[in-house]
């Protein structure tokens, strides 16, 4: 009996020491752990490494930042839909420049590899020197169409989605000067029920491009040559689901397709298989050369480490 008590006593002492150590660790790291849990969504999204922005209309402040781009040096271009301006921030989130775009509404912004910033605002597209934010000129819309969105191509130049006259849509490939290389007429409406509405476009490293379309509530995938491959939705939102709300789209170098839908950020594979969903306010998306993901939520920009 005494042996049994001794054994129990030894076991309970060991257990007590373990619990004590765990308790001390919890005590020491408690606040930090709670904070990290709050700011790092679970799953494959990398850790949040930067956030900046304050609601307001003053310089460096944000009112409705719904599109974002990032250059190879890590400078961030946050486009404010409501204020009609693009702000250039240093990699640390400090304001480095600001330009107002004349149409006073910005729908999309794309950093082209030669240092040109393409900005779509109220159906027009402009080119700016990305470093100085000096206007280089307006891009002529091919075929009399109206620009809806734009994304940079990995090999240089951009791809733009336009609303063409005659209730159709076009996808145009433009060089860094904004000159038309080729155009796909009726790219979406040939394969879908409706023409595009409030679209977003992204291009992967191989040149495959994806149009997130709020007209057909789906993401359309095309080959680099412009041949339609398929369409898909994202978690809980199959193609055609009218509850779909596509606010942004971006691709990273690991074959991840990021899709923002106002209150959620989704991760899907490039062939449309759902992977993760994160509950968070998300609008514009961009991925840097390092694979870092930038997410805007109107009055703030967040940077996440490369996806794990």
């Amino acid at each position: 009996m005494s042996k049994l008590v001794g054994w129990a006593s030894k076991r309970s002492r060991t257990a007590a020491v373990i619990v004590l150590v765990l308790a001390c660790r919890a005590l020491c790291a408690g606040g930090l752990a709670a904070e990290e849990t709050a700011k790092t969504p679970p799953g494959r999204l990398g850790e949040e490494v930067l956030r900046f922005g304050k609601e307001g209309i003053g310089p460096s402040q944000m009112t409705r930042v719904e599109s974002v781009a990032v250059d190879p040096e890590g400078f961030i271009y946050a486009a404010d839909w409501e204020l009609g301006r693009v702000q250039r921030f240093s990699p640390a989130g400090k304001l480095a420049g600001l330009v107002y775009v004349e149409p006073e509404r910005i729908d999309a912004v794309a950093y082209e590899r030669s240092g040109v910033l393409f900005v779509v605002g109220r159906y027009q597209m402009f080119r700016y020197d990305a470093k100085t934010l000096k206007l280089l000129g307006q891009v002529e819309a091919p075929g009399g169409g109206e620009f809806l969105t734009v994304a940079a191509r990995p090999t240089g130049g951009v791809v733009a989605v336009l609303e063409a006259p005659g209730i159709s849509d076009d996808i145009a490939f433009l060089d860094k000067e904004g000159k038309l290389e080729r155009i796909l007429h009726g790219a979406i409406d040939k394969v879908a029920e409706y023409t595009v509405r409030d679209p977003h476009v992204a291009v992967d490293a191989q040149g495959f491009f994806y149009v997130a379309d709020n007209g057909n509530y789906a993401i359309f995938k095309f080959t680099p040559e412009g041949r339609y491959i398929n369409r898909f939705g994202y978690e809980g939102h199959p193609p055609g689901d009218s509850e779909t709300d596509l606010q942004g789209i971006a691709l990273d170098g690991r074959g991840n397709l990021w899709v923002s839908g106002w209150r959620d950020l989704y991760l899907v594979t490039v062939d449309g298989r759902p992977r993760q969903r994160y509950e968070m306010s998300a609008y514009g998306l961009a991925v840097s050369d390092k694979g870092e993901l930038y997410v805007t939520d109107r009055t703030m920009v967040r940077r996440y480490a490369a996806a794990k």
Binding site: A26, G31, A33, I57, L95
Partner: protein
């Protein structure tokens, strides 16, 4: 298990519970004492009974001696890096302070004996000085004179304020009319909105103070009208508010300062203090019982007020939200 073991186990459980509670509790933010004065040049006693927004968080010039002493500072501006420039109209010089309030350098302005009426630092760190009807540009860090902005109809510049992108907006007038002038950071005149305030008011208005907010809305305050007129960036007149009197939202005496923050508020300084009004409809928010002639807002929406021998910085709360 004997009583000692039980007591030890209970103690451990309590310890674990305390540890879990501590882990779940968010870290408490550090307490902020609004009466703390951050500045280095401050030996004045803090005003404990004033509302927090009327208690300076930084004071410049209070205890300054020698070259950094202020004699009659009525103008102030802040650049994007937070450097503070004060305009001493008696001494005819600009003092430059670090964001922490440490005196750094000074320069004397051209035409110091003329009435000095405007001072503004633009986004590129260029300091614009309106004096004797002329508008000069200086490199803020060195004080080097860079040149003069020339209105096609001659001298007549009065007030100047930073634009949110680059350059400044300036007011100009002669005997016939008054203009709002958009000047680039390089000193080139981009646009002149001719006969802006007089044209909107239907009468000559004389000296006009200007400000511009992040929507590029132009605000123009005229003493003679005791009102603030609102213009679009394109020069189109939109609205005006204010009148002469002592009630909330009214102005009395000369309007000495005008600025706008990033939260949709306009600040107007007159004999009674600094009135805070809402941009959207001119409705009165609060009056700050602070001394101030020239006023300015920095990128962090802090208010700076120039009051003769000192310049003070205030933290002003944003307006109440509609929702």
């Amino acid at each position: 298990m004997n009583n000692a073991h039980r007591r030890f186990a209970v103690l451990l459980l309590l310890l674990c519970a305390a540890a879990l509670a501590a882990a779940r509790k968010p870290p408490k933010p550090p307490a902020v004492d609004p009466t703390v004065i951050e500045g280095v040049a401050n030996d004045a006693p803090p005003i404990f009974k004033a509302p927090p927004e009327e208690v300076p968080v930084l004071r410049l010039g209070t205890a300054a001696k020698g070259s950094e002493r202020m004699t009659n500072v009525v103008l102030v501006t802040v650049d994007p890096q937070g450097f503070i420039y004060t305009g001493d109209v008696d001494a005819g010089r600009v003092l430059r302070f670090t964001p922490e309030g440490k005196f750094e350098s000074l320069f004397f302005i051209a035409e110091p004996r003329r009435p000095w009426t405007g001072l503004a630092a633009d986004r590129g760190g260029i300091v614009f000085v309106a004096t004797g009807g002329r508008l000069f540009r200086y490199a803020g860090a060195s004080g080097t004179l860079l040149g003069e902005v020339k209105h096609p109809d001659g001298a007549g510049f009065f007030h100047v304020a930073p634009r949110p992108d680059s350059g400044v907006v300036a007011s100009w007038h002669n005997a016939q009319r008054d203009d709002l002038v958009l000047v680039g950071g390089d000193g080139a005149i981009e646009t002149i909105h001719r006969d802006a305030v007089s044209g909107a008011a239907g009468e000559p208005v004389g000296d006009v103070l200007v400000a511009m907010d992040g929507r590029r809305t132009i605000y123009a305050a005229a003493d003679r009208l005791h009102a603030v007129c609102i213009f679009k960036f394109t020069g189109e007149y939109e609205n005006r508010f204010g009148s002469e009197g002592d009630e909330d939202g009214q102005f009395s005496g000369p309007i000495a300062g005008l600025t706008a923050d990033g939260q949709g508020q306009i600040f107007v300084s007159d004999a009674k203090g600094v009135s805070v009004l809402l941009v959207k409809d001119g409705s009165f928010v609060r009056r700050l019982e602070v001394k101030g002639a020239g006023i300015a807002i920095d990128d962090d929406d802090a208010l700076f007020a120039a009051a003769g021998t000192e310049v003070a910085k205030y933290r002003v709360p944003p307006p109440p939200r509609d929702d």
